[in-house]
Symmetry: C2
Subunit: 345 residues, 2 copies
C-alpha cells in the first residue's frame, strides 16, 4: 500500500503567507516522495503565474494539478461565516476534493476554527465520534508524545475524553508502529479527590478497555515522555501547549540576553553556538508542525498559520503518513471493537 501513488490537496491560499510558503513546501515534498501527487487549490491565475520551475515541471509530468478557488477564508473570519459564505474558498474546495475522493487528504494553514467547522460539515464525523479533536506530536525527553485535544472542544464530557483517547492511541499506533501506546489522562494532583468529575469518569471508562491506559499524568509528566498519548479537554490542552511555547521563548530570550551581556559572554556565545543550534533543532517546532483533525471521515491536517516552507512540508508528510496508514478507518474499527467490549462487560 505504501507503494501506491497518493494525492493530497493543499489549500494554497491559507495561512499568514499563502502561496509564498505552500509552493516551495510543495516542491520540497514532491522531491522527497516520488509517489506523491499534489492538488494546489487557490487563485489559479495567481498560482500558475508564480509556480517555481520544479512545480511547473511536476505539473507537466502530471504530478501537480491546479484547482481554481476564487475566495479565501480570512485568518480572523468567524467559522460560521466561512461555512456559510465562503463555499468557493480554497479551504472549502480542498476539503471538497477529499469528500469527492479526488484527494486522500488535505492540508491547510488557514483559520483553525473555520477548517474544523468546514471539515466537520463536509466530511462528517466517524460513527461513534461526537466531536473531532485536534492532535499534535510534541517533543519530550524520550522522543515525542501525541497530545489531544488542543482546542477544538471545550467542556468535554468523560465520553468525549474516552473518544479522544481511542483516536490518539490509534494514531500513535499507526505513525510510530507502537503496538500499545501508553495513554494518560491529564489531571492535577492537588485536590482532595483528585481531578474533576469528567476526568475521573473518563478514567473509569478507559480502565475497562483493552487500551494501554496508564492512569493520570500531571503537567510535568508531559515532557518526561511518561505517556505516548496525553488526553485532555481542549481548553486545558490549548493552554498547556501555548504556555509551553511561552516558556521556551522566554528561555531562548534570556539565553540570548545573557550571551549578549559583555565581550566575554559574546565570545562564549560563539564557542557555544553549535551546541545552542543542536538544542534548537531538538525542540524546533517546525519539526512538529502538522496537527491532525481526528475523528472525521477523511484526513485533514492543520499547518501552523505562520509556518515556513520547511514546517509546511512536515505537515504534508504527516498527511502522507496518515494516508498510508488509513487512519480514519483504523479509528473506526478500533472504536467499534472497544464499544463492543464495553457492552460485553
Amino acid at each position: 500500500m505504501s507503494q501506491a501513488n497518493v494525492v493530497i490537496a493543499l489549500d494554497a491560499m491559507g495561512g499568514d503567507h499563502g502561496p509564498d510558503v505552500v509552493l516551495p513546501a510543495a516542491a520540497h515534498a514532491l522531491a522527497r516522495h516520488p509517489r506523491l501527487h499534489l492538488v494546489l487549490v487557490g487563485d489559479e491565475a495567481r498560482l500558475a503565474g508564480r509556480l517555481p520551475d520544479r512545480l511547473s515541471a511536476a505539473r507537466e509530468a502530471g504530478r501537480v494539478r491546479l484547482v481554481h478557488a476564487p475566495e479565501v477564508v480570512g485568518m480572523d473570519e468567524a467559522p460560521s461565516h466561512a461555512l456559510r459564505f465562503k463555499k468557493q474558498s480554497s479551504m472549502r474546495r480542498a476539503i471538497d476534493l477529499v469528500k469527492a475522493g479526488e484527494a486522500a487528504a488535505c492540508v491547510s494553514a488557514g483559520n483553525t476554527g473555520a477548517l474544523m467547522a468546514t471539515a466537520r460539515y463536509v466530511l462528517k464525523t466517524l460513527p461513534g465520534i461526537d466531536r473531532p479533536a485536534i492532535a499534535t506530536f510534541i517533543p519530550t525527553m524520550r522522543g515525542h508524545t501525541l497530545m489531544l485535544d488542543l482546542g477544538a472542544n471545550i467542556d468535554s464530557t468523560a465520553e468525549h475524553l474516552f473518544q479522544f483517547a481511542v483516536m490518539g492511541s490509534v494514531l500513535v499506533q499507526a505513525i510510530d508502529a507502537n503496538r500499545a501506546p501508553r495513554v494518560g489522562l491529564l489531571n492535577i494532583g492537588e485536590e482532595e479527590i483528585k481531578g474533576n468529575d469528567q476526568v475521573k469518569e473518563a478514567a473509569r471508562l478507559l480502565s475497562d478497555t483493552s487500551l494501554n491506559y496508564i492512569g493520570f499524568v500531571e503537567g510535568d509528566d508531559i515532557y518526561q515522555g511518561t505517556a505516548d498519548v496525553v488526553v485532555c479537554d481542549g481548553f486545558v490542552g490549548n493552554v498547556a501547549l501555548k504556555t509551553s511555547e511561552g516558556v521556551a521563548k522566554m528561555i531562548a530570550h534570556f539565553l540570548r540576553e545573557e550571551f549578549q551581556r559583555n565581550p566575554f559572554t559574546r565570545l562564549a556565545g560563539l564557542v557555544a553556538l553549535p551546541v545552542i543550534r543542536a538544542l534548537r533543532r531538538r525542540v524546533d517546532p517546525r519539526r512538529y508542525n502538522g496537527a491532525s483533525l481526528l475523528g472525521l471521515r477523511g484526513i485533514v491536517i492543520k499547518s501552523h498559520g505562520g509556518a515556513d516552507a520547511l514546517a509546511y512540508a512536515h505537515a504534508i508528510e504527516e498527511a502522507l503518513q496518515e494516508v498510508d496508514n488509513d487512519v480514519p478507518n483504523l479509528i473506526d474499527h478500533r472504536l467499534e471493537t472497544l464499544l463492543t467490549e464495553r457492552q460485553a462487560v
Copy 2:
C-alpha cells in the same frame, strides 16, 4: 508599620525535609530581618536538640520560640483525614497561632490540600470570598506575573474567577507597589465564540469594575508579561504551571546532553558556564517559592514540599511582605468597594 516587630509561625515538620530545611531557612531569615520573630512549631524535643547556634542565640534573645506539636500531617494524607484526626499536628498548631493572634502569618511546606482545608476551617474565608485560591509569582520576560488559582479550586464559576481577580490585583498592588495591576483572564483563541461560559461571564463582570482588566490572555502571553495578574480555574492553572516546569526541565536536560556530546562541546560548556549559571538564576524556581493562600482571614504561605533552605527563606519573605502590607484587610476592603460599585451600576 514596616518598623514593627512581626511574628511568623513556621510548620517546622512539614515538607519533604522538615526541620533540616526549616531551621537553616529560619536562621537565614532572622539574620536578614532584625524585626522578624519566629515561632517554630513541631516536636519540641527534636527541634530543641538540633537548633543551629544562630537559632539558639535568637531563642535566648527572645526572637525564637518553640511550640510543641506531637503530630505531623503526611504528604499524601487526605486533607479530610488531617482535618479530623491531626488536631495536634505542627501544621494545625501553626495555623491556630495565626487564628489566636499570636502570629501574624504562618508558613508550611506540608501537604497543600491539608493546608488549604485546615486553614479554611480554622481561619475562615473573608466576607464575600467563596473559595480561597492559591497564587504564586512566576518569572516573565519583563519581570514577574502573579498567577491564580493554581489548584485549590476546579470548576470555578465566573463569580469565583472575579474574586480571584480581585485578590490577585490587591496582592500585586501591595507587593509590587503597582497602583493598577493589569489583570488578564486566561483563555484560548481557537473557538468560534472564544472560551467557555465561565470565562466569558467573568470577563463581563470584570469589565464593569474599576479594576485594570485588560481582557483575555492566552498561554503564550503569560511569560511575555502581558498581564501582572493572570486569572484562571485551578485545574487550568495547575496544568499550566506544571507544564511550564516540565518544559524548563526538558530544555535544561537537552542543554546538558548537548554540552556532553564530545570534547569540543564539553569545552564549550566550560566557556559558557557563567552564562548558563546566569540564565539558571533568572528562572530559578527557588526565587519564586512561597505561594499565597488568598481569601482567608489570615496569612498562610505554602512553601514547595521539596524546597531547600534558600527557597524556604523566600517563602518566609513572602509572608513578611504580606504582613507588612496587611493583605487580608486590603482584599476585604477592595472587594467591598467593588461589590458596592457593581450594585450601583
